[in-house]
Symmetry: C2
Subunit: 100 residues, 2 copies
């Protein structure tokens, strides 16, 4: 179910790492920075595994050492709880990858 704007703002505050791509956007976005190209590629592999597990796939951009993820729920025509729960899983994978 598509979330209303108040709930979206609440979920964004809870994450603290993602933002709306633009005002009134149907997309949330986060850029992750890495110390090497291959570290970013490895993270994308983790993102892929998570995406398949929850059957929810972000748009992914790899610009050398920077990986940008964007999430939306096409079927709901906006943002849903699934976007925020998946974003939290990506953040966790990022933290775990950097802690290795």
């Amino acid at each position: 179910m598509k979330l209303d704007r108040v709930t979206v703002d609440d979920r964004l505050s809870a994450l603290g790492t993602w933002r709306l791509e633009a005002e009134e956007s149907k997309w949330i976005v986060r850029k992750y920075r890495f110390t090497s190209f291959m570290q970013g590629i490895s993270f994308v592999g983790e993102v892929a595994r998570i995406s398949e597990a929850v059957n929810h796939h972000p748009m992914i951009a790899i610009d050398y050492k920077m990986v940008t993820l964007r999430l939306t729920s096409w079927s709901a025509g906006g943002l849903t709880e699934l976007d925020f729960s998946t974003a939290a899983k990506f953040d966790q994978a990022y933290v775990e990858g950097n802690a290795e």
Copy 2:
């Protein structure tokens, strides 16, 4: 060394799979389509290995089952032979991946 436009057109014709991103662009681009998300991710892993081997990294976008690669040579301020030789390697990896 940055290639002149005649040479760029010649190299694009030889590849037959890439195009200038826009008229007078410093970027060449190709979109690769896959039958599954994970097949595209696997291809990106191959692209990463090739990029590291030749020390020349494309911009990569993964939009579900479609992977877009973009190449330029920042240091030369345009397109060089390295862009086209690397593009050919990516194409080869794509063909080999689909032949498996």
